[in-house]
Assembly symmetry: D2
């Protein structure tokens, strides 16, 4: 690891935004009550509600993404229900069976560029309800999306609206995983705001870990009656922090002066720079990815030499002789490192 | 909350030890790999192993206590096994059913002063194995203790040794919850070291959240073969931090220059001061508690006035007219506040 | 086993009531649809509803008692809820952790003669709701009784009414395990009818296995909306019989011409005879048990000789030198065997 | 239902083989101990072991197929493991999430004619172990096959041997679901015996429900040490019958005088007759199915008229205008009904 010069493996490779660190230093010896009843947390909840234009929303702070997905999805589903996800969804591909450990099946649909379409969801739900043997099957009980997706792609507001309408027609809740939501919000191609999410979803989470915090994810439940006793459920899942203030403080900073709306901007700009510069030299990408991730197709023979100079993410085999690798930028990535990466790739 | 002057409700009411904060500031923009493969974490593991005199131990960092108990216990048990605990044990009384959510019964034995005895465990296990109907029952699969206990009491080295021998005789693993272990290690009445725990237990955890960290608990598994694929299990439980360095860094600081051995000293000394001073004015305690917690018996009529000036923990009803309350000191408690509390109680 | 002459170990030691067997023979090669949609099952459901004076009830047939308890309780509870049971309840003591395997804690209250009291339940629920830390605890989500209890004792109609009122006051469902319900219904001391149970409970089951069937338990849910998608839940628990007709047919026979109301009569009469005869020779019982079970206190030295001639149930140690054993009679027990047992005990 | 003349919807539409019924009548009032410790069960286990040429095997009798799969698979897997199955496998498609309810993911591979191939399994396992992120994923912990498959197709002895060798090379257990095993054993195209299964698998089950019993499935574990405490696990899953003799007796009859080896013969012959006769009139099948099931492609317009005269199974849509339906024969199907079905289809 130490011989690596450039770090593009993921967006959780640095500490936290300086504002968070400063506030931690300033408030360290203040006394607060535990379990998220402190004033940092109360203030953070209020700021998140305001940013979502959703003054009644319940807001809960959990620690990490897999935990947040498993806890929230399990809180919403009944035992006989499963979660509908694109086949590349984080809940099915990257969470070590956390959803199943909670007793639920992930019902996968094939995805293009990491996305589901409203039509596709509608056709699936229609077919399920038309099936005479449906009572012998896991019932779809939630639709799971991520914004941006695992491939860094975005749902447009029109797409989200159509999916939300489909879900409401079939009376199935819509849940959005926003682990990298700051990078969606910072993308020039994005037209779906936090308020849109709050209006269109039954629950979603605003990612902290990958977007400037040490850790922490904020679950927003626009209708606070939607999930009863969520506090106890969070505790039961081992996801309740005793020093809840530590999460509250971070989100209080992230949502002060709209920081969260802008924190992903440099990362998205740098990812765009990487893509446009590499395109100039004939590099190919898995597909257009307008947020902070770049999925590059490389010859397998390039992998080892590249790894000597860059930490990158190995994504998947592309074909017999080529692979897909990922460069992720973050709020902490510097232009200097981005330029060094581009130069290296041009050698 | 704001009108409260004195904070003795628990030991997780402040931030983190200044050394941790300083190191966070110094290292914030360093790049590291995720999921606990970074150098902070590797160093922390090495320091923990050294402090435990257990060079081969597997060490894993999780976020909080309930999560650590549920994850580790579930990792050890088979589906048909349960965890043996004193009836006041944290796993049965204070974790919102996290153990049961993982599919396991807590098999409770009555406790005096929060403790189990080797004889009692032996008699229970003997009776279980002698029972002709045992194959229709949950099998005891782990013995759970906490050091110090929920009541702040301590197991002596002799007691732990006897319990460990009993467990080994019946081939049942011994697991110790050390959420407040620093306060045990700092007690003049304690004679069981980290190395003793590593020698006598099959797994135990060293608490960070209540002992100077923002969050974090270090699970020590002396025989690394004892729990296979614990990394994946931790991930499945939503207990794996993407920015694992944040946990590693904290434990690296806590175990630098023996900080953890001493961090609880003032808290224990102050709890002793509270107890001796209150005893002088005829106050009674639930029982002698030699670590950082004081369990005081008060008239119910005292509760409301006291609550105006002190945040304390309501523990349980003592009898029709009296209650037990808890004053907890922490590494961050000041002598000034302790003296103010004593003065207040003497009014 | 073969040298045993007398069989009083339990009430599931013989086949099925002759009416059931005759009907099986008559209908063996008839074709029916699967999964309980057949006409035997539809007729049985109708008869059960009629016997319960509850024309809208949902009725489901499952295979065995542990399965029925686990499936029904899990269907009713949300993840953060547990089941309130007397400490000798079947769900906590004799089901190998089936409830916990489904993720739920059994919240035990101490019992006298195997029973809970309305006052006791009310006090417990009141204390729970008054507890400031209740959101950190498993929430009571169902009250579990058995009629008759594990000790063969009965709840009177007045007791059941009081418990039902308490449960409704606290908005917590009441569930009754009727594994041996036929022996309650046949007891001269009983004054609670099936219609009373249907009126007072949110769900209960009518036992078949111990009451004349090869297997099978009928779950009655007076308000059919109370448990959504119970069919799918039953299937998910592996409790749905493909040849559902086999369960339907048995209950159709048990509820033809009120057979179930009377099938336990001889067993209860014989248990009474055993008790009165043994009392005459100074034998002592654990307590008065007015159904088909007799709990006798014996010297430990009697156990081995007795076992040579009788299969009985070892229940528990009574004190250092004495034990409690159980003689169970069933619908199939003969007067001849009862008299032989009495004679043997009088030797 | 009553207006239907012909019953080909499934193979669980009738009662039990006459031998079973006769034995039930003969033994009804014999007294036996419970939970499968009776002499019927002991004899049945011995006969199953003999038929499998596996004198040390552990044999357990459970009630139904979904229950047997969920219980056995959960008994074998550790929490972080999943079950590898073809995408049409019963465990993933038809069990209402029973596997997931037990906490495990079904890892599906695409299948042709309902089967997996040794190469395919090997490539999958190899790729899993080569994946640097494998510790973040559910680990394959068992390979699940069914013989015959959901589509009535058969694994040859050579195919089973190759799969078994692959599994052993990767140290992953092999489990075979034999819900319809009698129809495999009766097929002229079959060359894999019970002894072969016992030699090649780590566990498998011999189906009773669909093969002549009222209910019951016999799990065979060739190495009895392979699953510890399976009795308790079965109880915990609600799958232990109190009157275990009822299952034991049925398998004792099914394995007396090799009945099970022949009980499927007429069904397989009749399915062959249906297929050859329908082929003569130009009917097309989904694929060749050499056991007791026929998967016929029909125009959607045929469905309703056909349903007036025949109970059949709707299987799946074939294309926009056609569907696949299933005719299942059973041990109880008569030649007369088969001829009537053929005549009807030829109209």
């Amino acid at each position: 690891m130490t011989q690596c010069k450039l770090y593009f493996a993921s967006d959780y490779m640095e500490g936290a935004h300086p504002n968070i660190l400063r506030r931690l230093v300033e408030t360290n010896l203040e006394h607060t009550t535990g379990y998220g009843c402190d004033e940092f947390t109360l203030s953070a909840k209020e700021r998140v509600r305001k940013a979502c234009a959703c003054p009644d929303a319940a807001v809960h702070f959990l620690v990490g993404g897999t935990q947040t997905n498993a806890t929230t999805i399990a809180a919403i589903l009944r035992s006989y229900q499963g979660v509908v996800s694109v086949d590349s969804g984080h809940v099915t591909a990257h969470e070590a069976g956390a959803i199943e450990y909670c007793g639920h099946k992930v019902l996968t649909l094939p995805g293009k560029t990491g996305k589901l379409a409203a039509d596709q969801i509608g056709a699936y739900l229609e077919a399920f309800h038309a099936d005479g043997k449906r009572e012998h099957s896991v019932m779809p009980g939630i639709v799971y999306l991520s914004q941006p997706t695992e491939y860094g792609t975005l749902y447009s507001l029109a797409e989200l609206t159509a999916i939300s309408e489909t879900c409401r027609r079939f009376r199935i809740p819509l849940y959005v995983d926003g682990a990298r939501l700051a990078y969606a919000l910072a993308s020039p191609e994005n037209d779906a705001s936090l308020a849109d999410l709050a209006r269109l979803c039954d629950a979603f989470y605003i990612g902290g870990t990958k977007c400037g915090a040490f850790c922490g994810e904020a679950v927003v439940v626009p209708d606070p009656e939607f999930i009863a006793h969520f506090f106890t459920i969070i505790k039961q899942h081992g996801a309740l922090m005793a020093k809840g203030r530590f999460l509250g403080l971070q989100f209080d900073e992230l949502f002060k002066d709209d920081l969260y709306m802008h924190i992903g901007e440099s990362a998205v700009r740098y990812a765009g720079l990487i893509q446009s510069e590499l395109q100039k030299i004939g590099r190919r990408f898995l597909f257009h990815s307008p947020t902070n991730q770049t999925f590059l197709i490389v010859d397998d023979s390039e992998l080892a030499p590249l790894a000597e100079n860059v930490e990158f993410g190995f994504w998947e085999k592309y074909d017999e002789t080529r692979s897909v690798i990922r460069f992720a930028t973050s709020w902490a990535t510097t232009l200097q490192d981005v330029e060094a990466l581009i130069a290296l790739m041009k050698e």
